[in-house]
């Protein structure tokens, strides 16, 4: 089974390590590919990013995708407009309005940690239904659990488990990602699968969250790179 981690921050995002260090570690741990996630600043950076990432990808013979994470609704709108320019579109959850916008947008691939810094889980049954309809995956973020402790950790685990329960009921895709900001926070795929199981997923569901869902996203990336692609559901025939 091929495993992918689609939410990793390098040093030019909020992380601390270079793309090469991250890719080396991910390869050692048994991943088939990763997605380097950046926060959107301006268009001009995409070319330099692409160049750097493709150099590392060729050097290590390892699949690396470029992802952008939107922090605000404005950023999300801008990123949707230039959707063909990069591979994966993530939305940094936490704000309820942004969470809602993310699950309503077909172009979004993953809504990351909707429960971040919240007392509730950041997701309800309506949003779960919308996410299923628009094929937006809800993320289980390992870094959130890793970096918290005691009562905060138990609250986070409870909120994520609640989201998983909703996602299972409404057949919303689930993605398990490390959310690593350094290569030390990257975890073995088996660890991520086990954490998924603890949060209420069956073993095969957890495996799918780490392999089948990213593979579907990769399929979409290939489709999007095709010249005939206009936007989700629209193609030049």
């Amino acid at each position: 089974m091929n495993f992918y981690d689609f939410h990793i921050h390098p040093k030019f995002s909020e992380g601390k390590c270079s793309v090469e260090e991250i890719a080396r570690r991910a390869k050692l741990l048994g991943f088939k590919g990763i997605c380097i996630t950046n926060y959107f600043t301006d268009k001009s950076k995409i070319k330099t990013l692409k160049k750097e990432i493709s150099e590392v990808s060729e050097k290590l013979e390892f699949k690396i995708f470029i992802g952008f994470s939107a922090k605000t609704v404005d950023q999300l709108k801008k990123l949707v407009r230039m959707r063909k320019g990069y591979d994966v579109l993530l939305v940094k959850g936490s704000d309820l309005y942004l969470n809602r916008k993310a699950v309503e947008t077909k172009e979004v691939d993953i809504l990351t940690h909707p429960e971040l810094n919240r007392r509730d889980s950041g997701l309800n049954h309506i949003m779960a239904k919308l996410a299923t309809k628009n094929n937006v995956a809800i993320e289980i973020n390992f870094r959130e659990i890793l970096q918290s402790s005691k009562n905060t950790r138990s609250a986070i685990i409870h909120n994520i488990a609640e989201n998983v329960r909703l996602c299972k009921k409404y057949k919303t895709p689930i993605a398990i990602c490390s959310g690593a900001a350094s290569h030390w926070q990257l975890k073995d795929p088996k660890v991520l699968i086990s954490m998924g199981c603890l949060l209420g997923l069956e073993l095969n569901e957890a495996k799918k969250a780490l392999s089948e869902l990213p593979e579907n996203i990769i399929k979409m990336i290939r489709e999007r790179q095709n010249e005939k692609w206009v936007r989700p559901g629209v193609k030049v025939v």
Binding site: R25, L28, L29, G30, F142, I145, L146, S149, W184, Q185, L186, K187, D188, K190, V191, L192, I193, S194, M195, C197, L198, L203
Partner: protein, 117 residues
């Protein structure tokens, strides 16, 4: 002292052996006791005393390879996922940053020893 009669195989607890490798920052060689205390601390923190009692977790001393930093952890068959998730939460050993790479999960110690060489 008289020993207890060995239970029938069907009545015994079913064990699973998890072999793992510790990846460290500068290739430090950790001892068995370093690792044992880290595993106990994190599992007790994450699962609590009652939770740990249900896992039957044990780090095998004679299987710890200090050079290769490979070891075997024993637990019962129902708590494999819990133990692996808890292992993932260990990110420091003293002042050093570490990661665990899970090599193999097996039902017998014989088959898992093969990969340790």
């Amino acid at each position: 002292m008289k020993r207890l009669k060995i239970l029938k195989p069907t009545l015994r607890e079913k064990n699973r052996y998890i072999s793992f490798q510790v990846i460290s920052e500068k290739g430090e060689e950790f001892t068995y006791s370093d690792l044992e205390s880290a595993i106990w601390n994190v599992t007790l923190d994450f699962l609590g005393e009652y939770g740990v009692s249900k896992t039957s977790i044990w780090l095998l001393k004679d299987c710890w390879n200090q050079k290769k930093q490979i070891g075997i952890l024993r637990c019962n068959h129902k708590s494999v996922q819990v133990v692996i998730a808890a292992l993932g939460l260990i990110d420091r050993l003293g002042d050093n940053r570490i990661t665990f790479k899970i090599l193999k999960i097996s039902g017998t110690i014989k088959s898992i020893r093969k990969i340790m060489g």
